[in-house]
Each structure stands twice: as C-alpha cells, then as structure tokens.
Amino acid sequence: MAKGKIRSKLRSSLYTFSCTSTPNKAAEAEELQGSVYSRLVYCNEPHQLSYNSNSTSTTKYNIVTFIPIALFEQFNRVANVYFLIAAILSVTPYGPYDPFSAIAPLAFVVGLSMVKELIEDWQRFLQDWKVNMRPAQVYTGHGIFESRPWKKIMVGDIVKVEKDKFFPADLLLLSSNYDDGICYVETMNLDGETNLKVKRALEITMDLDEDNSFREFKATIKCEAPNPSLYTFEGELEYNKKTYSLDPIQILLRDSKLRNTSYVYGVVIFTGHDTKVMQNSTKSPSKRSRVEKQMDQIIYILFSLLVIISIMSSVGFAYLTKFDMPDWWYLHAPDDKNLYNPQKPYLSGLYHLITALILYGYLIPISLYVSIEIVKVLQASFINRDMHMYHEDTDTPALARTSNLNEELGQVDTILSDKTGTLTCNQMDFLKCSIAGISYGQRPSEVELAAVKKMSMDFDAEDHDFSSAVSGFEEEGNAETEGTSNNQDHGRQIKGFSFEDKRLTGACWWKLPKPEIHYIFFRILAVCHTAIPEENEEGDGYDYEAESPDEGAFLVAAKEFGFEFCKRTQGSIFVREADPSSEEPVEREFKILNILDFTSKRKRMSAIVRDEKGEIFLFCKGADAIIFDRLSEDGRTFEKATKKHLSDYGEAGLRTLVFAYKKLEEADYNEWNNEFQNAKNSDSSNKDEMLEDLSDKIEKELNLVGASAVEDKLQQGVPQCIDSLAQAGLKIWVLTGDKMETAINIGFSCSLLREEMQQICISIKDEQEHDAEQDIKSDISKQIMSGTQKMKQEEDPHAAYALIIDGKALNFALDDELKHQFLHLAVSCASVICCRVSPKQKALVVRLVKEGTGKTTLAIGDGANDVGMIQEADIGIGISGVEGMQAVMSSDFAIAQFRYLERLLVVHGHWFYKRIAQMICYFFYKNIAFGLTLFYYEICTAFSGNAVYDDWYMILYNVAATSLPVMTLGVLEQDVSAEVCLEFPALYQQGPKNLFFGWYRIIGWICNGVYTSFIIFFFNILTLYTEAYRVEGQTPDMSIMGATMFTCIVCAVNTQIALSLSHFTRIQHIFIWGSIVVWFLFLIIYGAAVPETSTGSYQIFLETLAPSPLFWITILLVVIACNLPYFMHISFQRSFSPMDHHIIQEIKYYRKDVTDRHMWRREKRKGRHEAKIGFSARVDAKIRHLKGRIQKRGAVMAGQEML
C-alpha cells in the first residue's frame, strides 16, 4: 500500500521529481540488456510478467506504519522530545514533582495530534479507494470484455475505453471506432490544456476494432522504463514477426479522457505508480508555516535559557552541597541515593541537573502546540463555514484541508496561478467584431466593466477640477455600464456567444452598407475551421467539437448570424445559410480543397473552398500582424479602421483574429495545387519547408474583411479579485500550459498586462531550435540581461514591465546558472506570465520563487497538472467543485472560485496571522513569567529544586488558569472587521512584513515576561518577608507564599491578555475573568480536601488568605505593577505613533466613515498598495495620461500667451 514515506529530517529539503526506475523483475531482463528498452510487455498475456499493480495510493501511512511513523513525526518536534524525556525522568527520584503531571499533558498533546493525522490520512485513503474501484472494460478471452475495477488491471491487458471515460492506465492505442484509427483525447488533468489532442493507432493494428478481433491477438512491446516525461515515449511493437516503432502519438495516458470517439482499444503498458501521471506526482510534503518555524527558534532560545539556568542551579547546588551542606545538620546528609551527598557533590549536582531541567520545563509551553492545534482547527472551521466563500452553483463551501497553514495565509507575498479553470472558465465568448471597418457588438467585456465601475467610483473622490477634465471619459464609461446592465437583463444566454448588436443579430445585415463583405465574413466564420458538428441531445441544433474553444465560439456565432455549420464529410462542409430572399435557410455545400493548418509559427489558418457556383475562395484567419502583411493593395480599404478596432479590443482584454479572403482563378489554383500535392507526396526531408513555402505563396494578396474579438471568459469576479490582491501588495504570476498568445490575451483581460506596459518576451526562436544547448542558453541569458538592462535605465516611475516566458526558454532559465538572473528580472517585473509550462516546470518555478526570494508563495490551480506546484508552494490552493479532484486532494485549502482567494487571504489570512502571532507571543510571555519565578525561588532554597507552588497549581497553570483566554484570542480576536479588511487591502501588508511576529516584538514580549516574573517574585518576597502576616501575629509560610504568588501570576497574566485584546465578545469576558474565578474556586475546593491531599494548601484560602488584607493589597499592587509598562507602551504607541489598524479602529469607533464619507472614500482609494497591475492600475495609468495631456495643453497655451 503506502510507500511509507518517512519524512526526511530536514523538513525543508526538497523532494525530487526524478524517480529512479523500478528494477525490472522480468526474467527476460538479460535479453533486454543489449537494447535501449528495459520494459517488456506481452500483449494479451497479462500474467506473463509481474509489474506494479494498477492500484495507486497517496496515503502517508498504512495500518502497520501508522503508529511508528506518526509517533516519529510527533517527536520530530523538539519540544515534544524534551517533554518525553522529562516524563520518563519524572518517574525517577530526580523528578521534582509527580510523574502524572508530566506524562498526562504529553500524552494528551501527542494523542490529539495523532488522531488528527489519522483522520486526514483516512480521507486520503477513501479517495484512493474510490479511484481504484472505478470500473474498466478488460478483455478476458474468447472475445469477451468484462468490467473490472481499475486496481485489477495488469500490464498486457487489453482494455476498451468508452467515450468520456478516463484511461485507467497508460495504454498503447490499438484501434478506435474511426476507420483511420484516430481518437480524440482531453489531457486537461495532465497539462491543463483544454484543446483536444488527436492520437493515432499504428496502421497495422487499426483493424482490431471489434471485441472479437482479440481472440488470436498476440504481440510484444518493448519500451522505455517508467518515467515522468509526458511528451515522449520510445518503444517498439513486435507483431506478426515484424517490428514497428512507437511514438507518443500512440500512447494514451492515465487520467486523460477519451473525447469525441465512441470507443478505443488499447494495451496496458504502464500501471499504477509506473504511469506517467503518477510518476509526475510527488508525495505530498508536510508544510509548516513561517510563523511556526520562527516559533521553533523561540523555543530553541527558551531551551538555551532553560539549560543555562539549570546548569547555574546545578553548579550552585553542587557548591553548596560540598561546602555548606555538611554543616546543615538538620538535613541529615548524605542520603543513600546520593541526591544530597557532600562527599560526591558532582554526582549530586548531576542528579540535580536532571531535576532542574524538568522543573524549569515550565519555561517551555507544552500546551502551546496543542493550544495552537485546537485554535487552528477552530479557525479552519471558520473557513469551512464562511458563507461568503460558499459557491451556490456548485454547492461547494470552502475547505481547509490542513489547519497547519492558517497564519501563512496572512503572509503571502507571491501568488502563482494556473490559468485555465482557475482564472478562466475555459469558455470563449464571441463578443465583438469589426466588419468592413465598422465595429459591432455593444456588450462591454468584463475588463471594461470592472474598470468603468472603478473609475466612476474614483472620480467621486478625485479633486473636482480634475474630474471635469475627464468627465467625458467617465460619461462614456457610465453609458456603457448602463447599457450592459440592461443587456444582461434581457439577453438570452447562449454558451459561447455574448454578442449584442441588433444590426447583425436581427438577420438584417444585408441592409447594412457593404453586405457582400459581411457575407464573406460570416462564411469565413462558418467554413474556415477544423471542427466537427454533433447533433445535440435535444435534436434542435448542433454542438461543435472543436480543437480550440475559440473555434467553437466562432461556429456558435456563425450560427447566430444565420450561417449554421451542420455537416462535415470527407471533402465538404455543409452550411445552412439564411437567405435574404427567402424565409427558409438554404443548405449550401462548400468543397474543401485544401486546409492550411494553424501552427504557432504560421499564426494563421486558411481553407481553400469551392462554393456551389464553382468559384474558388481562399478564406484566411490569423493574427493581425501576419494578415496585415499579406494584404493586397486593393484589399486595404478598411485597414485603418480595423486596426483601431483591434487595439480597442485588445485594450478590452479580448483575443482577436483578423479575417481575410481572396478569390482564386481556376487555372492559378490548379497550378498551385499540383505543386502542393507533389510536395505533399514527396519523401524529401525538406517536405515541411516546401509545404510552408507553397502556403506562403498562395496566402498573399488577400482582401481584408474584418476582425473578431473573443472573450476568454474569466471566472466571475476574477479581475476585481486580482485588483484587490494587487492592492494588497501581492505579486501575481500566471503559469499556464497554453500558448503564448492565449496567455498574453488572458494577461490583458485580467489586467495583469496593459497596453502601455513594456513586455519582455523570452523565448527560443524557431530557427534556434536545433542549435546546441549552450548557444540557446547564452541567447536566453542575453535576453534576460537586456531585459534587466532596460529596466535599470527606465526613468518613468510609473513604467511597468511584464515578463512573458515560454516553456522551452524556461527550461534553460531554470537552469542553475541562469535562474538567479531570471528570478532577479522576474521579481522586478510587475507581472510574470509563463506559458507552455509543464506541470514539473510549474513546480520548479514555484520552488525558484520560494527559495530565491525567501518569501511566502501561494499556488492556486484546479487540475492534476497543478498538483506539483500546489505541493511545492508554501500554500497550495485547489479549485474545488470541478471534475478532477487531484488538485484539491493535494492542496492545503480548497475554494470553489478564484475570487474567494481575496477573502481567504485579506480577511481570514490577516486575522489568522495576527491571532496566531499574538497568541504565540503571549504564550511565551506567560510561561516565562511563571517559569522564572521558579528559578528565583530556587536560589532561595539553596538550589535544592523545590518549588514554592503546590504540584497542582503548576499543572493547573497551563491547563485551566491561563490557556483558555489565550485560545479565545487565537480564535476570536479581530483588529478590524471583515469589511474594513476588504476595503483596505493595504492592511494585509502587516502580514508579509511580519509586523506582529518580528524579533523586535518577540523580544519585547519575552522582556515583558521577565519583568513580570521579577515583579511577582520580589514584590511577594518583600511583602511576605519575616514579619507577621496578620493581626494575630502568625508569620507567612511556604504555602501562603506559594498561593499568594500564584494568585498574583494568574491575575497578572489574565489582566495582560485583557489589555492586549481589542475585540471583546461575551466569550472573551467569560474566559478571561472566568479563569481568575476558576482559580479562586479551585483554591477553595482544593483547600477543602483532606489534609493529606491538599497538604500545605489545606483551608488556605478561607482561613489564611482571604481574611488577610495584606493578601488583597499585594495582589492589587502586583497586578498593576506588572501591567503598567505594557499599558504605557500601548497608550503611547497609539497616541503618538499609531499603526494603520489603530486609526481605522478609531474612525470606525467614532463613525467618521459615516459622517465624513468623502474622507472615507478618499482613504480607501489611497490605502491601496501602489499596484502596477490590476484594472485600478490601468485606470490610474489612463488618468495620468489624461492629466499629462491637460498639462501639455496648458503649457502650450501658456507659451502662446507669452508670445
């Protein structure tokens, strides 16, 4: 089951991606030694060789290993080891107190943590079990396929996979329902790419396309050993005594999905943990928050303190034992255990050291870990139960999967986000188009909407003289906003089509000027593509299976415009066209003569078709720059207008394509076609180049038709969320498997990029691809250097740079030699977009940022391809409520929508960070305050290891007297309300800057603890010295001193926590004042027990303490004296150098936000962190631009006046 991973001692050490290959147990191994292939698969003979089974496991423990490993992990915590040793030693005579008081808390703490681990692992096990039990069709012989759970599939099995099912293992594709043996595969879970990929079976196996064809099927596959590379595969198939080489194109990977194909047959090659996707997966590392790591350091400090004072008292003890004790006849030394032996002072000293180490253990707060764990579980339940993070549509609440990282949420510096499924919905919407120089489509994009909203809000607060200057801009915006809101109410929602313009949708485009151009535009939409129509379930229309969602959007748009693509045959496309002359649509056939494919290099696609009239057209769509270069002189009529529209669309965050056409003469075409066919059939090595040249030749002299603008639909609220996060000072990187163009487009629509931003693109040029690695590396180094150079020379403070890097280039940039240069460049850019990155690269980028900057990283993603980065980042967040669960299963927190990230970080994270930071500081404070009094008293007892307090007081201290108030602090404290957190994202920076858990603050609290211990001890000693304790003349004894001192401590530390809170609900009051009351109650109850139990504390409160005015006066004095410095500190700090949250608390308290709305709004705007990304930055840039223009105009006018 589990590959019982023992967590390495170095917690931060990295897990490795490269997996060592499993040793091949095959008997035939020797046979293979000569060849490069180390794996042998006998098709249809699954029992021949034993390989890993197909069951997978992601659990950390199994039944046997749970106890040892979980215990081991628990005692990886230094403090726990210490308490374990202390517990063991407390059984011996050296223990200063009852063994029970040492063992019970430890058992409780460790037990609780282990139960938590067990529950978490059980959930993982259930998830695995669900996957392992998924059914698959496996060939059992005699032409029968049988349903079997995934885990029972063996290497060599023939499986049949049906449409929309996941592949259970890595398969070799044998055949599909298509004659040519192709099938479509969605690899979303592997690499996040959403377009379908085509896989093709070997010709030789294509005929095996029936259940019955496998009766006699026998073949042997030799292939590479299991490895994590998703895009490579090497191997050969031996079938009918012939050998065929295998490519990645025949391999179907586990966790990808069969689409658009009824069924396929395949042979299992890799199973279970050998599959590529599992090889890519990494064991979920255990993460610890920064605060917790720092807490460890404090614990080390306290340990040192503990050891130092223990040694001090042991030395003192040994000295006194040797020289003074022989004279202390009343001690009757030596004893028989050598604990007090003046003849052997060193031995006695050594024993005493043990006693001291245990006694001063109160310096180390044992309950800290368990309190923090309880607090964090409660905090996590706040996340789980937050109604503002519940997604109605998918019925998914937010989920904190681990509670270890709560406070880390408040310290995030860089967010690394996946694109598809996280930022975008993976749905394209046809939004606007420009035909014949006229722009259509009134619905604004989400970016425009968000920007306009922001702008109109800002202008209210902006100085009035300026606002008039830009009012035009604003009105335009407002008009647009209103327009939209109306449209949204009335418009019917068609997936992929958000176009809103009566001129085109009313099927009356032929009344517009230049109807012929419009006609061609629509035809290009309907004809120039590679999609397949599929009748939908209702039977009233078609769904389109397109390679990319853009194409789908075009086809939907074409349909809406009256050009419904309805059938594709081998050589033709059938389109139902609306006809101006008749009501009924006419079905027209277009013969597809040639398709010139889209490649990332060509950046265009063309279809050469013959219409029903026999005329031949070349329809072309492509990137603007490419098409504009290929226009004929006559075809440039609308160039200027179109270019303007394109730039508008780009600014609106839309992705654009330009459409062009050309009419071909029969003869010219035939001549070209002959050449083309020849080239296609030729075997020459430069076939690709020849084809490209030929394509180039015909895609020339085009006539411009127009352009389309498609919105890669962002998930709800994404731009706003990014904007707020940017204002909170967070850096956002996008890591996507998509191509560069798509990524840049999304950059625009999320406002991560904007027009005036300088883009630094780093990529490998196509012609370089075959160059030596060293050359490429040096070229990339050069690109990085020049980018850095450019930024250094920049003078404009508002200039922003964006870094866009391609996956292949990233490979080199992540190299040890270059990565620091790269990181340096990347962190100084306002936004970073990495495209075409593999899952592994995503993780490497995260690691680079994490280790390079030393700051907290957060990775968010939705698919299996994001698992690596989710695990690598300090905090991993999975998008839940979608199909795949891998991302969620490996994440630390799961939210349903990207937009909830804002609340998760800015509200919950902010609070959690402050709560935990304050809580830990307070914990150390209270334990130092208590622990040191033990030490001072030690000195008074000749270092003998005697405590002035009763054992029970000491147990009670951490359990009942002081721990509950601090837990309410950890659970309920709020410096400002949730709304204010959201309104002032800048407050979030208190976390990443670590204002509340910096050493300054920690030392401050430690000093406060030392001071408190001093005051408590010496004030008590001096008050209860030798004189009579009360009017009846009795003098104070040890139990009176102990009880008084302890009461002082309980009152002082509880008053202290009341002072450090700023948010009192009833619960805080109950716990804080209740703790003090409980202490007094305890004293009464304990005092009422028989004298053998209560010993010195018998009736102490009622008889001795309470009637004595001295007792009460002492407590008042000590409590005030202990808290006076802190009170002074907070009052002077607030009055003379307040922090932001202080002022906002005051504004809220005096309701200034209601009475002075203008100020409140102005501050909200100013409070934003100086962000260079987000649409607010975009708006700011626009305002700067306008201001600049006004100034210029002013200057010109002034100049004229001078003249």
């Binding site: 109604m387 800057k993 932001d1140």
Partner: protein, 330 residues
C-alpha cells in the same frame, strides 16, 4: 464606552442545500463585540486613577507599619558558642508596646525550604491514630519497626530554645496558646495522636523533644515549626505577652540556649513585636504603593504634556501609513 455591534445577518438564500454553511454569528465571526479604544482621555483617567488610589493606600500601609513596635535582639553570639546553656539578655523598650506583644524567634541561613527537608514528613500519621505506623516520605528519620511519631526531618529538627521574660524582677507570663493556625490544630494534627519513639536515637538527637503525654494537636510549638518557612530567614511565633510594656522598661530574658545554629553559622534572634491590621512592621508595601502611585501620576503628566505638544485627533486619516510615508511602507 458604547459597545458597537457586529453587522447582523447576511442574506440567506431561499434554496437550501446540503453543503451550505449554516449561518450563525459565531461561525461568521460576527458576534457582537465590545471594541474599546484607548483614547487619550482613557489613558489619562487610568493613570490618574491609579495615582489617586495608590497613594492613600500607600500612606495607610505606611502608617500601619509605623504603628507597629518591634524590638529584635540577637543572642546566639552572646550565649554561644556552646549549646545547652542559659544566658540572660536585657532589652530596653524604646516605645510603649501595647498588648498583645508577640514573641518570635528568628533564624537565618536555615533552609526550611530545602527540598530534602520539606518532603520529609508524613501528614497521615500526624492526623490519624490508625495510620500511626506510616513512615512514608519521612526518610531518613523513620523507622518501620518502631514507628516514629512525628517522623521526618522537620519534626526531628524542632526548635527548642526557650525564653523566660521578666520586667523589674517580675516574671512576665508568655502565653503559648493559639500561636498556630486554627485549621492546623483542629484538623492536621490529631487530638488522639501522641508522640512515639520521638528523638529516640534514630538519626541521633536533632532538636527539641516532645511531651509524650500531650496529643500533637496541643503541641503548638511543633505545629508552628512544621509550617515550613518559605525563605531561609524566617520568624516563627513563640508566644504572646499579654501585658503592656512601658517606655524604658528593661525586659530581662532568660534564654535556654539549646538549638544548634553554630554549626552552620546562623543567627538566632529574639523578636518582640506588636501588630497592626497589616500584620508586622513592613514598610515595603507602603513604599511600593506610594512609588507606583507617583509614577502613575508622573506618566499621566508626561502624557498630557506630550499630548499638548503633539496632539493627534482620533481617527485622523493623516496618520495612516500611506499618508505619512507616501513612498510606501507601513
């Protein structure tokens, strides 16, 4: 300070689904809360309040301490360095001492709080006759064969100097009743438990012996001694003098010097003291209260001055970090 309420319920949708978190003020972290603000008014009020409360308390404590008359006389040096002798000391009364006058003996460098010493007792055998054989914890002064009552180092080292007082050759009676805490007499030391095998050779002879015919509950010297002191310098009540001592009275004390402090060089003092409602003559509390009160008033003054020089209107947005440091940074 008025309590500001958290915002009440948020919109709950009509559609009820299984996973939707249920609204509660607690889970949404919207519990009504009191959010006090530490305004300058509050700061000044608090400090001034501490000042005006602490100074009178301090004065009262000091005057109480001053009312107490205390005479202490070291005698170990004069009566030593041998034990088991008698010596006489004369003490002159400086101020009138009203009865009751408490008589204490004071030891120093005596570690009654030593771990070995403190643990060496058995509370069970002191209280219950039936548990008279209990010796647990009494090591090394224990004997299971002939159980010792009271066992342990504490009892074994019982202080045994005695004092006899006389003024102008007239003996003054020292009342040794009710010098122990009542609960000790009534509950901790049994009225049916009698000393047994005490100071009979086990570990040699330590301190004082006990009258074997008196039950433990009446051996008040033992009961006082068994309440171990917290510090190595301590006083324990010896008895009460129930007559007044006038100014310039010379009190003659006949000391039976038995207790061995010479071995470890500790002092022995005889202390006569009256008490007040605060107990003995201890000036510390009064001084501490006065000092703290003065400090508070001083801080209040400083705060007021600073506040006049550098006033900050509450909730003034000019103090927000982005307004103070436009370049960024909080």
């Amino acid at each position: 300070m008025p309590a500001s309420e958290g915002s009440p319920d948020s919109s709950s949708s009509s559609r009820k689904s299984s996973k939707k978190p249920k609204y509660s003020r607690f889970s949404q972290q919207e519990l009504p809360a009191y959010k006090p603000i530490l305004t300058p008014q509050w700061v000044i009020t608090v400090f001034v309040f501490i000042g005006i409360v602490f100074i009178p308390v301090g004065l009262a404590s000091l005057s109480a301490a001053n009312q107490v008359e205390e005479i202490s006389e070291r005698y170990d040096d004069k009566c030593g360095p041998q034990t088991n002798n008698t010596c006489e000391r004369k003490i002159t009364v400086k101020k009138k001492m009203k009865n009751p006058i408490y008589v204490y003996y004071q030891l120093d460098k005596f570690y009654q709080n030593h771990r070995r010493y403190v643990k060496s007792r058995n509370d069970l055998q002191l209280r219950q006759t039936s548990r008279g054989r209990e010796q647990a914890g009494c090591d090394p002064i224990s004997n299971t064969a002939n159980p010792i009552v009271p066992c342990g180092l504490i009892a074994w080292s019982l202080f045994n100097d005695t004092y006899k007082f006389s003024v102008k050759d007239k003996d003054i009676n020292v009342d040794k009743k009710d010098i122990a805490w009542k609960s000790d007499k009534d509950y901790k030391f049994g009225s049916q438990v009698y000393p047994k095998n005490f100071q009979k050779g086990e570990g040699g002879i330590g301190g004082g012996k006990l009258n074997e015919s008196l039950p433990l509950s009446e051996q008040e010297d033992l009961i006082v001694w068994m309440r171990t002191a917290a510090l190595p310098t301590f006083r324990k009540l010896y008895g009460k003098i129930t007559v007044d001592l006038e100014v310039n009275d010379v009190v003659t004390v006949k000391i039976q010097n038995n207790y061995n402090t010479y071995k470890y060089g500790g002092q022995k003092l005889l202390v006569l003291s009256t008490t007040s409602w605060m107990g003995g003559k201890n000036h510390f509390l009064g001084r501490a209260y006065l000092t703290l009160g003065a400090i508070s008033l001083f801080i209040a003054g400083c705060f007021i001055v600073l506040y006049i020089i550098k006033p900050r209107p509450l909730g003034d947005p000019a103090y927000l970090s982005w307004n103070r440091y436009p370049g960024g940074g909080i």
